[in-house]
């Protein structure tokens, strides 16, 4: 039994396990506060609303319908995963890429314009999204490396600039009778991502495409790049201490710019994985930056800043965001799930403290046990 307890103690000391516990606690507290807010707005349906958010597609009793909507949630989780990878990659190198939102917008603009304006096949459009978003992120990187501009501020400015530019650009390929860009399927079907028969797994949800497996593969590639390659090591070293990295002969300015380029490319890829499925058209009248990049921040931190963790946390965030659509509209608004995911980001700020506290408690317990054993030895 003693042996058993010891292994439990060491399990609790494991970093990954601690991250998992911390994330679960964040989620639970976030949902609890969300529940309290719902109670204040209208006590009658609060429990039902939280259940609706958590159930999401399981709202439909028919299995076919549920699988179909499960597919839709997954389609939206792909860009979110890539945005969260973008955020966490930059964060590992000491940069806070709040510009993932703007890079996502730029990527969306580029891939849609190449698809609808130039009538290019899908792989060219994906490439365009990657290049344009990476170039936008490079601006922040260059400003940070050479002009010492805080990347958070420059990213925010670029978010708004790219939103306005993309709105202007896509107005040239919009449907004349609505504020939306032209439908992908009818204008240029070659630009839609191939599905390779994946849609059959999700009750013929035609939006499920190769984006799904590719996103997971990209997450694994990011993990390999960060943990198993020399480049990843150098980038992380630059993030930890710029001066020390320079002293060791690393090109610290180049590393900062390269990090932003990779982060931007990830966000741009995410945008193409979403808009090239045709699931949503771009509304050229939108006045606020799409929340995908910001939710990416939530997913990155909820996933314990680990690429594999991000896969699960992205799905979870998208699950509750989609679930927001099923709350009783006569009592609440769907933004309640935005509210809950914002709460979760806030709570993620406490994760570091939580881990510290947990280790402190474990130390104390071990100390007590050691003292007991010593006493037992004396007797």
């Amino acid at each position: 039994m003693n042996n058993n307890e010891k292994s439990k103690g060491s399990l609790l000391r494991n970093g990954a396990v601690q991250s998992l516990i911390a994330s679960v606690i964040c989620i639970i507290i976030g949902l609890l506060i969300g529940y309290v807010v719902l109670l204040i707005i209208n006590p009658a349906g609060a429990a039902g609303a939280i259940v609706a958010i958590l159930k999401n597609f399981m709202y439909y009793p028919s299995v076919v319908k549920a699988t179909q909507y499960f597919g839709s949630t997954l389609v939206k989780a792909c860009p979110l995963l890539l945005c969260s990878l973008s955020v966490l990659f930059a964060y590992k190198v000491g940069l806070f890429n709040i510009g993932a939102a703007g890079q996502y917008v730029a990527g969306a603009g580029a891939c849609l314009y190449f698809a609808l304006g130039f009538k290019m096949p899908w792989y060219v459009c994906v490439l365009a999204a990657i290049v344009v978003a990476a170039a936008l992120a490079a601006v922040s990187g260059i400003l940070k490396a050479y002009c010492n501009v805080n990347e958070v501020i420059s990213c925010i400015m670029l978010n708004w600039i790219s939103l306005y530019v993309v709105n202007m650009l896509l107005s040239t390929v919009k449907d004349p009778s609505s504020p939306y860009s032209l439908a992908l399927g009818s204008t240029n079907a070659a630009a839609a991502l191939p599905t390779l028969g994946l849609e059959k797994l999700f009750a013929n949800n035609k939006y499920v495409s190769i984006a799904l497996p590719l996103s997971v593969i990209v997450a694994i590639l990011v993990w390999i790049l960060l943990e198993k390659t020399k480049l990843g090591y150098e980038l992380k070293a630059t993030g930890l201490n710029k001066q020390a990295a320079k002293y060791c002969g690393m090109k610290e300015k180049y590393n900062i710019i390269l990090t932003m380029v990779i982060a931007g490319a990830l966000a741009g890829l995410g945008a193409s994985f979403y808009y090239l499925t045709g699931v949503e058209q771009w509304a050229v009248t939108q006045t606020s930056v799409p929340g995908m990049g910001f939710n990416g921040i939530a997913a990155a931190f909820l996933g314990g800043l680990h690429p594999i963790g991000a896969i699960f946390s992205s799905y979870f965030i998208q699950h509750i965001t989609s679930g927001g659509a099923y709350v009783d509209k006569s009592m609440y608004c769907s933004q309640i799930s935005d509210f809950i995911s914002a709460l979760i980001i806030y709570l993620c700020g406490f994760v570091f403290f939580f881990k510290l506290w947990m280790n402190h408690m474990l130390d104390k317990r071990d100390e007590k046990r050691a003292m007991k054993e010593e006493k037992g030895g004396e007797a």
Binding site: L143, I153, S288, F294, D338, A342, I345, C348
Partner: protein
């Protein structure tokens, strides 16, 4: 021309208030990226007060009550940052970002709940305050004087006096430059940082209500405050964390923002046929360029962003 001056002054007032808020917080050593969210919450408090007050009340009462509501909400909201950053040593950029997202989401949830309670078919996130807003304005000829312009000017003067002429301000700055040294001579760093963040909550909240009453009589909270909190941070950096410079920088940025409202009134500008979107982008582009040239020799408080740890003397 008069209209341009009027809009410049009102937008500059917003930027002055919010940038001064950031200035106090950063001088105490806490980076406040969450000013945008604080503005939204302050704006929410003030807008709801405006909506539910009777327009027959004397103007002074309305102005004071609205200011009080914005200040109170902004201050309480900034406590979220203070607790996380000071007591729990959280990553200040992360918490600030969370405050921004939370501010807009919470405001939409609250406004929609109130709108739906009044009329079940009204699912918009808009608050309108046409009647009571008139109390904030005084017409002087063609110029619409807004009392908040005076408030911003007073805040600027008071901030200058507090930061450079009073013991409190000097101690506050010490906590942002070298908290260990400040602690060693008996200054309570935690208390000072709380003061800094709460003052930024007060000024940020106030800035929020000024922004949403500038030129419009209703506000759609889904839009938040459209990046204005970040423009204020750019103003603060451009102003080198000094009140007087912040005032001048705010006038410059305010003018570019005002142009997008009134460019149609200028024959020369209207004749260029530049799409209005370009004018909307202008403040952001200008601030990027300005930051690129001024950040190199930036005089940011040295210890900002670093949680204070007594053990690290």
């Amino acid at each position: 021309m008069l209209l341009l001056i009027q809009y410049t002054l009102i937008f500059a007032s917003v930027l002055i208030l919010v940038a001064l808020g950031g200035c106090f917080s950063e001088h105490s050593g806490v980076i406040n990226i969450g000013l945008e969210g604080i503005m939204v919450m302050g704006a929410l408090g003030g807008a709801l007060m405006l909506r539910f007050l009777s327009p027959d009340l004397p103007a002074v009462v309305i102005i004071l009550l609205v200011m009080l509501a914005s200040i109170a909400v902004g201050m309480v909201y900034s406590l979220l940052l203070a607790v996380a950053a000071i007591n729990f040593k959280a990553d200040q950029t992360l918490v600030g970002t969370a405050l921004n997202l939370l501010g807009t989401a919470a405001a939409v949830v609250v406004v929609r709940a109130i709108n739906m309670a009044a009329d079940p078919n009204n699912v918009s996130s808009t608050v309108s305050y046409i009647a009571t807003k008139k109390a904030l304005l005084v017409r002087i000829g063609g110029f619409e004087f807004n009392w908040f312009m005076l408030v911003a000017l007073l805040a600027l003067i008071i901030s200058y006096v507090v930061l450079y002429k009073m013991r409190f301000g000097l101690r506050l700055q010490a906590c942002g430059e070298h908290p260990q040294a400040a602690d060693s001579v008996g200054i309570n760093v935690q208390k000072m940082r709380y003061a800094g963040v709460l003052i930024s909550g007060v000024l940020g909240g106030l800035g929020g209500i000024v922004y949403i009453t500038a030129g419009v009589s209703e506000w759609k909270f889904e839009n938040g405050v459209a990046g204005f909190g970040f423009l204020a941070l750019a103003v603060m950096i451009f102003g080198q964390w000094k009140p007087v410079n912040i005032g001048l920088a705010a006038l410059l940025f305010g003018m570019f923002r005002a142009l997008s409202n009134v460019y149609n009134g200028f024959g020369a500008l209207a004749a260029l046929h530049i799409p209005s979107t370009v004018y909307n982008m202008l403040p952001y582009i200008i601030s990027l360029i300005v930051l690129a040239f001024t950040s190199q020799k930036s005089r940011a408080p040295k210890a900002e962003g670093i949680p204070y740890d007594k053990g690290q003397r």
